[in-house]
Amino acid sequence: MLLVKLGGSLAGQAGGQTEFHVEGRNVIEMLRNLGELCPALKPVLEKGVTVSVDGRLQREATYHPLTPDNEIFLLPRMAGG
């Protein structure tokens, strides 16, 4: 099982829950399973989130592999200047 942590606004969307345990071999599977576990989050996840894996930011969903040892944080979509 992966431990996925959510930032404040995403947690708000998830009814205040800040941590989820979900299955998934990679980022895309993790997001899909999280959306099924918490349907309220689905629209936000589909709009796009930034995924932090061990502090490394990915601005889009990828097949980047995940293991239970990873620190996984979901953050809002980001853009730079």
Binding site: S9, L57, E71, F73, G80, G81
Partner: protein, 774 residues
């Protein structure tokens, strides 16, 4: 994913080429006037495009009559929003921003456009377009726009004020449930976001000192000297070409294709030299208009914005209204922090408030922290990214409070930051745990610097501030080709906005062990290279650099294989060292090294052209921290502020071309000085922008600033083969706060409203004198 394992082939500590300061490859063209920027291209049979813009901040468009303009001799096409039909899946906000439909949402909003034989005819044609406007009430201030009774821009944006009433937020003060029943209603509040962890209430109870202030910043423009410009050419068979100054030509291609219903393959976009962007050229404005005009006229069309149009209809960044509260123990340890950030993003949702919220306290190790952000729409141009979008404003507020805490506790401004600084293993205020980061190193270097020891005189003050930016990576693709004479052509897909071609040449040369000028780097057009994300988020030296290094390694492996063929030995028995293929050891055989020129000469015989390639959706960008120290003198007679000396200390990870790293530090600092002292969007009561020109919107000039001292800190980023972090954006995060802290120290009054222009400083000083007299 090969990237992870390859990344572990860790950072070399000794570089031969990287870290040197050669002349940039595009320099000669730029000092001789030969470099071609957006407006410098022309095409046979070219027409000139011009855009009609709304004079009203908010108005319903009842009717547009273009018949007289169309009848004018020399006019070849007139378009309105009817000519830009919404395509399935296109971004409606961008489409509506490109050309108003139904309503004009801000002063300067495009409503129609013409293509004519020259600018004089085009201008006449614009005057002949008749528009029947019904002027609507407008709102341009963020706090006003949030109120439940403010004029609403978009009916489909809804907000539930009931939650805000429970929190007794400022914008619902005096309202009660009778006037504002629970439930969603049309509003300018497009989103409410929350970040943080722990329990700030508990943290504040543990505090010995609490500092709290409200802050306001005005919108500022990216201020690039080159106005937006493009040349579109759509053939009658549907193939299209676009020459444009942009930070991302692949983004321009995909967005325009989507807005105009073109196949992506039919639109080839070439990035011109770009005369500054700073985030403002990461979206489209005139490009779809030029393409639509060209499609309708059947001729090439060039569109170049005037400076007035640039100010009224592109950029700027958000203005912000903020409240920050920080608690600390007597020894300076922070116990809790809270912020409420309200950013207006212009006429559409999407202000960078979430990034402002995430970066606000990122410099500090906080157990109990909460940040609430509001994204608010107003009758102003749709905000565009501006260098570390959202971060400078919240840093201004937070670092202002940190500065005041240091004063109250009698602590040194750098020591209080060192006491609370985020470091490797700190759980960041926005969530993830930091890897190796260099904030402490920047603080220590700043403390040791000679500027920090200078004694200050009367009316002078010193300000310190730190800042953080994430840095991004993303989709990147590069190709390196061996030419027939052993030189190399490197194609990258990220526009060079500040010297990145030089960095790419340096990294490829480093890998191959050859001189820097043996590599030529070009920005390939969208039909010549795979997709590349926009040049944003300080990502280019990191991500295009990483892809360049791996493309070059791919080339090296192929070159070794070619050498193996020539020598008749296994590939594994060949090494690349110092610019040549060499037998790996004594057992491999005794052969003279084969240089790039030797291998190029034999390329045909050994299998044809040799090229290295790499494509990646990179991650692993390393966050960058900076600390700025500034001394100012405030003139109590005039209220004018002089910047006496300025120091930037920033972690670059590894400075590939130190001169251009320093340039980024210095440029960011001076943009910040403009933001804090002079620059602001000024709106009249009619909702019109009062200062859309460089005379009244005053960016810093040469005589406004001193030399900007720099110290490059290098804490390697483990996510990059050479340890590179991004450097472009962090440099604008601390200056608002650093200068405001210095001005506050010089005045003896806390500066909370930007810009700190002379009238505001005089008012603050007079107020202080009056209070002292009372």
């Amino acid at each position: 994913m090969p990237l992870d394992s390859e990344n572990k082939t860790i950072v070399p500590t000794e570089f031969k080429t990287v870290g040197t300061r050669p002349v940039r490859p595009d320099g000669m063209d730029k000092v001789t006037g030969r470099a071609r920027f957006g407006a410098d291209m022309s095409a046979p049979g070219m027409l000139v495009g011009a855009i009609l813009r709304s004079p009203h901040a908010h108005a319903r468009i009842r009717k547009i009559d273009t018949s007289k303009a169309e009848a004018l001799a020399g006019v070849k096409a007139v378009i309105t929003s009817k000519d830009l039909k919404a395509q399935p899946g296109c971004d409606m906000d961008i489409l509506v921003n490109v050309m108003a439909r139904g309503k004009a949402l801000y002063d300067g909003h495009a409503v129609a456009a013409v293509a004519a034989v020259d600018m004089s005819v085009a201008r006449k044609a614009l005057k002949l377009i008749e528009i029947d406007y019904k002027v609507l009430p407008h709102v341009t201030d963020v706090d006003e726009a949030m109120k439940p009774d403010a004029p609403v821009l978009h009916k489909h944006i809804e907000h539930d004020y009931h939650q805000d009433m429970l929190e007794t937020a400022d914008h619902v003060k005096g309202k009660n449930e009778k006037t504002l029943p629970p439930g969603k209603r049309p509003s300018n509040i497009a989103g409410r976001y929350q970040f943080g962890h722990g329990d700030p209430k508990k943290g504040f109870r543990e505090a010995d000192v609490i500092v709290e202030h409200e802050f306001k910043t005005e919108a500022t423009h990216q201020g690039y000297i080159e106005p937006h410009a493009c040349l579109a050419n759509v053939s009658s068979d549907g193939w299209a070409e676009l020459w444009v100054c942009t930070q991302g030509h692949f983004m321009v291609r995909d967005t325009c294709a989507s807005l105009l219903g073109l196949d992506v393959s039919r639109l080839r976009v070439t990035a011109s030299e770009i005369g500054g962007g700073f985030g403002g050229k990461t979206t489209v404005f005139i490009e779809p208009v030029a393409l639509a005009l060209s499609r309708k006229a059947g001729r090439p069309v060039k569109v170049v914005m005037s400076r007035d149009e640039v100010f009224r209809a592109t950029g700027p960044t958000s203005s912000a209204s903020m409240k920050v509260r920080i608690g600390a123990k007597r020894d300076g340890t922070f116990t809790a922090a809270e912020a409420i950030l309200k950013y207006q993003g212009g006429a559409f949702p999407g202000s960078p408030v979430e990034m402002g919220a995430m970066t606000a306290f990122a410099c500090y190790d906080l157990k109990d922290v909460k940040i609430v952000g509001y994204d608010v729409v107003t009758n102003r141009p749709k905000q565009a990214a501006y260098r570390a979008p959202g971060a400078p404003m919240s840093a201004f507020a937070v670092e202002g409070c940190v500065g005041e805490l240091a004063e109250k506790l009698g602590m040194d401004a750098i020591d209080i930051r060192l006491k609370n600084a985020a470091k490797e293993g700190t759980v960041s205020s926005y969530g993830p745990t930091f890897g190796p980061v260099g904030l402490v190193e920047t603080l220590e270097a700043a403390k040791k610097h000679k500027n920090y020891k200078v004694k200050l005189g009367k009316n002078q003050g010193r300000g310190v501030a730190s800042g953080f930016w994430f840095n991004f990576a993303g989709q990147t693709c590069t190709t390196i080709n061996l030419n027939i004479d052993g030189t190399l052509g490197l194609a990258v897909g990220t526009p060079d906005i500040g010297g990145s071609r030089a960095s790419m040449c340096l990294m490829a040369a480093e890998e191959l062990g050859i001189p820097y000028d043996q590599v030529r780097t070009i920005i390939a057009d969208t039909s010549s290279l795979g997709y590349n994300d926009v040049t944003d988020g300080s990502r280019v030296t990191f991500a295009s650099g990483l892809a360049t290094i791996y493309a070059t390694r791919d080339l090296k492996a192929k070159l070794c294989a070619r050498a193996a063929t020539i020598w008749g030995i296994p590939e594994e028995a060949v090494d690349w060292e110092n610019g040549a293929a060499r037998p790996a050891g004594a057992n491999a055989g005794n052969f003279d090294p084969l240089t790039l020129a030797d291998l190029a000469e034999q390329a045909a015989a050994t299998g044809g052209p040799v090229a290295g390639h790499y494509e990646v959706n990179a991650d692993g960008a390393g966050p960058s921290f900076a600390t700025h120290v500034v001394d100012v003198e405030v003139d109590p007679e005039t209220g004018a502020t002089e910047v006496l000396r300025y120091l930037v200390v920033q972690d670059a990870g590894k400075a590939v071309h130190p001169s251009y790293v320093e340039g980024q530090f210095q440029g960011g600092a001076v943009q910040g000085i403009g933001w804090v002292l002079n620059e602001e969007y000024i709106y009249g009561e009619d909702g019109r922008l009062q200062n859309p020109g460089f005379l009244d919107y005053r960016i810093p000039v040469c005589s406004d600033v001193p030399m900007i001292d720099t110290v490059i800190v290098e804490v390697p980023n483990p996510g990059h083969p050479y340890g590179v972090r991004g450097v472009g954006e962090t440099s604008i995060v601390p200056p608002l706060a650093a200068v405001a802290n210095a001005v506050s120290a010089a005045m003896g009054v806390r500066a909370t409203t930007l810009p700190m222009s002379p009238p505001k400083i005089l008012a603050a000083l007079n107020n202080k004198m009056r209070q002292a007299a009372d």
